[in-house]
Structure formats: structure tokens, C-alpha cells
């Protein structure tokens, strides 16, 4: 397991990370946070409550959409990526890959 990252460092990348996690398939907040933690090997272990304002921000920007879903007797708000969100994610991935390659070239 990787040691948890500083929440302030993570905050600047939170929108991209959430878009990437939700792009893997529609999910409710609890599952999104679990996916984020699992896919980062435990490095992205945020206070869970900080994720919801970000999900609402992404929805207000038209990058995510959400609806209530009832399963297992429990009501959950499920988020999915919109076409605009997919385009934004693609652009952010390209930008990040360019940046990471440049940093790698300098550091290695």
C-alpha cells in the first residue's frame, strides 16, 4: 500500500481523478471513493466528505449527470459521465501524459 498523499496536493487533481473513476462505469458516491482508494493503492485516501462537493461541481459543469437509484432496499445517487465529461477527460489525460513525460525525462 502506498502512503496517503497530502489532501491539498490531491485537491488540484481531484476533478480529473473523479472523472476517470466514474468513466469506468456509473457509480454512487461511496463506490466512487472506494474505487479511487483501490485504484490508487490506498494513496488517495481522502476524508470521504470532501468528494461530494467536487461531484456536485462536476455535475453543475455538465461533466457528470446523476439520478437516484434504488437497489438492495437502499436509495443511492448514481453518477455517470456525460459526453462533455468524456471529452474533458480525454483532454486532461493528454495534458497529464505530456506533463508526466516531461517530468520523467528531466528526473530520470
Amino acid at each position: 500500500m502506498v502512503s496517503p498523499m497530502d489532501a491539498q496536493v490531491l485537491k488540484g487533481h481531484l476533478d480529473s481523478l473523479l472523472l476517470a473513476v466514474v468513466a469506468a462505469g456509473p457509480a454512487h458516491g461511496y463506490a466512487i471513493i472506494a474505487r479511487l482508494r483501490d485504484r490508487s493503492g490506498g494513496a488517495f485516501d481522502l476524508p470521504e466528505g470532501t468528494v461530494y462537493p467536487a461531484l456536485h461541481r462536476l455535475e453543475a459543469s455538465g461533466l457528470l449527470k446523476s439520478s437516484w437509484d434504488r437497489s438492495d432496499g437502499r436509495r443511492r445517487r448514481v453518477y455517470a459521465v456525460t459526453p462533455k465529461g468524456r471529452r474533458r477527460l480525454g483532454a486532461q489525460r493528454r495534458e497529464w501524459q505530456g506533463f508526466a513525460s516531461a517530468v520523467e525525462a528531466v528526473l530520470s
Binding site: 476524508p47 470521504e48 456536485h56
Partner: protein, 312 residues
């Protein structure tokens, strides 16, 4: 902390109202219950305590929503106020291009004219101040600047409405029916709708911002100095940094000269003679005084100055 107690504390701290509040509370409750149920090996009380601890402090979570919604409301208010002010400016341009002082002298002699004239300038100054805030802090404004830009939107929209409302009242009172008066009425109606929406959004932003007020707001003069440095006016930036009253004097003098020049050109008083120069100097003085009064009264609410600036 149990889920019930956590939610009680969260309800008390959450600044959101209406349907969105219900949605947030339902969503958070659903999350906490799911997180507690995901630990079946623990006793119920311990599972709930673990779930609420992982979720974070209720006040911090509520603050996260206040930041997010405050920024969003302030951004919306700024856009709407900007559109309304642009409409008001268009109305004034329509009047100016029709030589209103000569084509409709009854407007200038109407008791509503001083209100229209002063309101337009207050709207312009609040718009300019907000533009400086954005130029210094970026778009959208960060959470700690939410209150400043929301206050700018309130003042610009309200002053614009008062100004154009006064003109429309004078127009309707006179019964003028020319083409440009129709344009003026259309601009006023659209501007009024935009202003009402802007003020509503700005008040929502201010309600959220009450929980986000920085201990020491960033002085406007520091923002202005930053913007002047960006455009390579470092000397002006040095003169104005942390000295808001110098800014007030410079702004008032500039506005006075513009008004005096406008009157001289409009009255065909060029080339300037002694009488016209004296009238221009009087107008500049009146404008300077009006700017100082506005700066002393509205300026503090707009955070263009504060008593702490002099200690900075």
C-alpha cells in the same frame, strides 16, 4: 459519533437551502449508512463511528459545500450583473449617440437626472472594481473572494437599475415615443431582469460566504497594485499599494476630467475659453467630491478600503 448525531451537526452547519439541501442530506445519509453496513464484523455503534470518522468533520464538509456553491453563485451573479451593466451601458450609448442633452433636454432638467447620472457612475465603478478583483484573483474567483465579487455584483446591478429606472421614469413622465426611447425601454426591461437574477445569485453567494470569510480580507489596493504591475505600471502600483484614498483621489480626478471634457465637447465649448475652463474645473471638483462620498460610504461595504489597510 453516531450517524444520527453526525447528521444533526451537519444540518446545523449546512448553508444550502431548498431542494438541493434535501438532496445533499439524503445523499450523505445514504453514504454513511452504506459505510456502516460495510463493516458487519463491528458492533453497530462502532461501525457508525468508523463511518462518520472517515467522512470527516460535519463543519468541514458543510464548509466544502459552502465554498463550492458560493463560488458557483458568485460566478453566476457576476455573469448576470455583467450582462445587465452591458445593457445599461448600451442604453446610455443609444442616448449619447442621439445627443440626448440637445434632442431631449427635458431628461437633463428632470429631477430624476442626478440619480441616473450618479447611479450610472456607481455601477461603472463597482463593475471596474470587480473586474480588478478577477484580474488579480483569476476566474472563477477563489472561495475567499466570493463575498467581494458578490458585493460588486449587488452594487453594480442595483445602481444600474436605479440609474436606468430614473431615466425611464423621466421618459414615461414626458411621454416621449421616439425610436431610441423604445430601445431605452427594451434595454431597461432586459437589464432589470438580469439585475434581479444577479442580485438573487449574489445574495445566495453572500449567504454561503458568511462561513468562508477570511480572517483578513485581501485589500483592494493590493489587487489593484497587482493588476497595474501586470500591465507594467509599477510606479503607479507603488503609489497606490495599501493607499486606497490615493486611488480614490486619482479615480475621482480622472472621472471629473472625463465628465468635464464630455460637457465641453457636448456644449461646443472648444476651443476652451476662461468661462469654459472655470465650468470644467467646477465639474471636476463636484465629481471628485461625489467619488469621495461614494468611496467613503459604499467603498467600505465593497471592501475597496477598510480601517485595517493603514496598518498593513
Amino acid at each position: 459519533m453516531s450517524v444520527g448525531r453526525w447528521l444533526d451537526a451537519f444540518r446545523g452547519a449546512l448553508t444550502v437551502r431548498g431542494r438541493l439541501r434535501t438532496r445533499i442530506l439524503d445523499e450523505v445519509e445514504s453514504h454513511l449508512l452504506e459505510a456502516a453496513a460495510a463493516q458487519p464484523s463491528l458492533p453497530r455503534a462502532q461501525a457508525e463511528a468508523a463511518a462518520t470518522a472517515a467522512f470527516g468533520d460535519p463543519a468541514d464538509v458543510a464548509r466544502g459545500f459552502a465554498e463550492e456553491l458560493g463560488v458557483r453563485s458568485a460566478t453566476r451573479a457576476t455573469r448576470q450583473a455583467g450582462a445587465a451593466v452591458a445593457l445599461f451601458a448600451a442604453a446610455f450609448v443609444v442616448m449619447g449617440s442621439n445627443g440626448v442633452r440637445h434632442a431631449a433636454p427635458w431628461i437633463v432638467s428632470s429631477p430624476a437626472w442626478p440619480l441616473a447620472f450618479v447611479g450610472a457612475q456607481v455601477a461603472a465603478a463597482a463593475t471596474l472594481a470587480t473586474a480588478v478583483r478577477f484580474a488579480a484573483g483569476g476566474w472563477p474567483a477563489p472561495p475567499e473572494r466570493t463575498a467581494d465579487v458578490a458585493r460588486g455584483a449587488v452594487v453594480a446591478s442595483t445602481a444600474g437599475v436605479l440609474s436606468l429606472g430614473a431615466l425611464v421614469a423621466a421618459l414615461l413622465g414626458h411621454g416621449a415615443g421616439s425610436g431610441w426611447s423604445l430601445v431605452l425601454l427594451l434595454c431597461a426591461a432586459a437589464g432589470l431582469a438580469g439585475s434581479a437574477a444577479a442580485v438573487a445569485a449574489a445574495l445566495r453567494a453572500l449567504a454561503h460566504a458568511r462561513h468562508l470569510e477570511p480572517a483578513r480580507p485581501r485589500p483592494f489596493a493590493a489587487d489593484l497594485a497587482g493588476v497595474l504591475s501586470l500591465v507594467r505600471l509599477e510606479r503607479a502600483a507603488e503609489l497606490l499599494a495599501h493607499r486606497p484614498w490615493r486611488f480614490c483621489a486619482a479615480f475621482g480626478l480622472l472621472a471629473g476630467l472625463v465628465v468635464a471634457a464630455g460637457h465641453a465637447i457636448g456644449d461646443g465649448a472648444l476651443p476652451l475659453r476662461a468661462g469654459a475652463l472655470a465650468a470644467g474645473a467646477a465639474l471636476t471638483g463636484i465629481e471628485l467630491l461625489a467619488v469621495a462620498v461614494g468611496f467613503a460610504t459604499l467603498g467600505r461595504w465593497l471592501r475597496l478600503w477598510s480601517p485595517s489597510d493603514h496598518r498593513a
